[in-house]
């Protein structure tokens, strides 16, 4: 009954309704087109191994885009996610090394890594939501702090992660690469998270924080929880990156911050908050990866590669925003 009423009220056809229901569809379409083009120019890039490589490489950015999405839900932004990735990366690598690299040490280090990410997220949340500093500049400041901390923990890149860890990440079980299990697990976690009270509350805060406050929602606490969730997913991103790079690097995540913001926008979420999906952000991260490899596979001269990538991402960003808005209009 409900859908019927809406469709009579707003003409526009099934596609529009579909996009309203699944806002990440346009992003998915772009990603599929890019994937097809990649395959057209380099068939091996969409082979099983090629796709595995793609997922392995960009799982970290996907995680980070998810992290960013939860703060963007509430209309906030976190420019420190990359620094959190670096910090967690060096913390777990140093701990694994100190504890001897056994299976237990890996698990313990991952636990500490999650707590580190959580702590960073809570610090951001307190700074932005409780102390009411402006998110862009405040999280930039905390990013400098976290980077300093990472440099303190590991002054120079290089400590290797124990083989037990990265061989698991890069390995296969029953002929299926580990990352696919991770991806499936992630999908379940995200499905569950989308049903939490917190997800709805974050979106409500992002819609109109004052209104949410007046409705009796504990806005400050919700925003801090959003940042905490962001910190947790940034820690997961650090795990992925540690799995893929098998080493510690205090600067590894720095450049990922702005890519994570771009991925969120590419996925059709509104930076102003209140509207978005994590699935879109994941696809957004994939789009970035696919654009980068496509630019290579079509044989762009090296000096033009950055420009073409920049233009393609700018156009995709614009498309993400415009389509997202059309879907909501």
């Amino acid at each position: 009954m409900t859908t019927a009423t809406i469709s009579t009220q707003k003409p526009g056809g099934g596609l529009k309704r579909l996009v309203e229901r699944y806002p990440f569809l346009p992003a998915l379409l772009i990603a599929l087109v890019l994937l097809a083009l990649n395959g057209l120019y380099q068939p091996r890039s969409i082979s099983f191994i090629g796709i595995t490589g793609l997922v392995k490489t960009y799982l970290a950015l996907m995680m980070l885009a998810i992290a960013q999405t939860y703060v963007v839900y509430a209309g906030d932004i976190d420019l420190s996610v990359g620094a959190i990735v670096s910090l967690v990366n060096v913390v777990i690598v140093v701990l694994m090394e100190k504890m001897g690299g056994s299976g237990f040490s890996v698990v313990a280090a991952l636990g500490v890594g999650l707590l580190t990410g959580l702590a960073c997220g809570i610090v951001n949340g307190i700074v932005v939501a409780a102390l009411r500093l402006q998110a862009i500049v405040a999280t930039f400041a905390t990013s400098i702090f976290f980077t300093g901390l990472a440099l303190y923990v590991m002054p120079v890149a290089g400590t290797p992660a124990p083989a037990a860890f990265w061989r698991t990440y890069g390995g296969r079980f029953f002929e299926i690469p580990f990352v696919f299990y991770a991806a499936i697990l992630l999908a379940i976690v995200l499905y569950v998270l989308a049903r939490t009270r917190l997800a709805t509350q974050l979106l409500a805060v992002g819609d109109d924080a004052q209104a949410a406050f007046q409705s009796g929602l504990p806005v400050t606490r919700i925003r801090i929880q959003g940042y905490a969730l962001c910190g947790l997913f940034a820690a997961l991103a650090a795990f992925c990156i540690t799995g893929d790079t098998a080493s510690g690097d205090p600067l590894v995540g720095g450049k990922m911050t702005l890519f994570s913001v771009a991925a969120v926008v590419l996925g059709g979420s509104a930076l102003s908050g209140g509207f978005g999906t994590v699935v879109g952000s994941i696809i957004g991260a994939l789009i970035i990866g696919l654009i980068n490899s496509l630019v290579f596979f079509v044989g762009t001269p090296s000096e033009w590669q950055n420009l073409v990538q920049g233009l393609a991402i700018l156009i995709a960003l614009m498309a993400g925003v415009l389509v997202g808005r059309r879907a909501r209009a």
Binding site: A138, T142, F145, L271, E303, L307, L311
Partner: protein, 329 residues
Amino acid sequence: MTATTQTQGRAPSPMLTFLKQPLVVALILIVALLLLGETLSPGFASAQQILRLLIVAALLGIVAAGQNLVILGGREGIDLSVGGVISLSAIIAGNVMNGADSAIVPAVLACMAAGAFIGLINGMGVTLLRIPPLVMTLGMLGVLQGLLVVVRNGIPSGFAAPGLSRFVTQPFLLGLPGIIWLWVAIGLLMAFMLTRTVYGHRIYAIGSNEQAAYMAGVPVRAMRISLFMLSGVFAAITGICLLGYSGSSFANVGEQYMLASIIAVVFGGTPLSGGKGGYTGTMAGALLLVILQGILTTVHIDESGRQMVFGATLLLLMLFYGRGRAMRG
């Protein structure tokens, strides 16, 4: 009851109100930091050193002027592309003048035109396509970084004209270099523009309530495009001055100004929400940031420590400024 309410009413004393002005806060902090710097590293607050800090602050202050205007114009105005514009401008200026004083004027004109053009594109994306400024200028930054590689490839890089270098580094009038006078002139011009011209009033109008400004006949789109263009022009001027400062151009010279210019604006008491603030504070904010960085350079500690102190100090300083509105009055 009434009487008590009125007497204990929260009307703060005039002294406190004065002390809470962003400009006053910044000036007090500047003096405090200079004293701290002198204590930690004798010679830090010498006249010569302050002069040199002023030159560096002027470089930041000029780009922050454009950033300031874009932020004042509201609608989440922000310009992340200034770093790219600065780099591009430094390269164009170096190539056009290539060590010849006679080519300074064409070089300046070329750079300003390039800056204005990039601002125009940013502005059109933001107004006509309604892309959020953060997304638009972030995408533009990626494009400019690519463009830099293309532009630098295959063209001879040039020197600053001696006249330009003298302008930036050598005393010109009353012992101060030309760039300081330029900065002062920009400061006066900005103050005049923001308080005494219709254009200035319209900036505040669109920043504070775009819809009302539109209904009152303010050409909102043209205004906003012009602000982005001005931001491009100011960034271009910084690029030229930076060329004069370092003598020759080099890639990525502008990168560090992206977030620094935003922090200078925030330290100057202009909140990122727009419609409030001014440029005088931003000038003080730029100086404050430069002094802070200077102190950290002169203190002999590990880089990790420097970054942690820098990040924490930025956060601490932000607490002195207008924080977000409390949900509860």
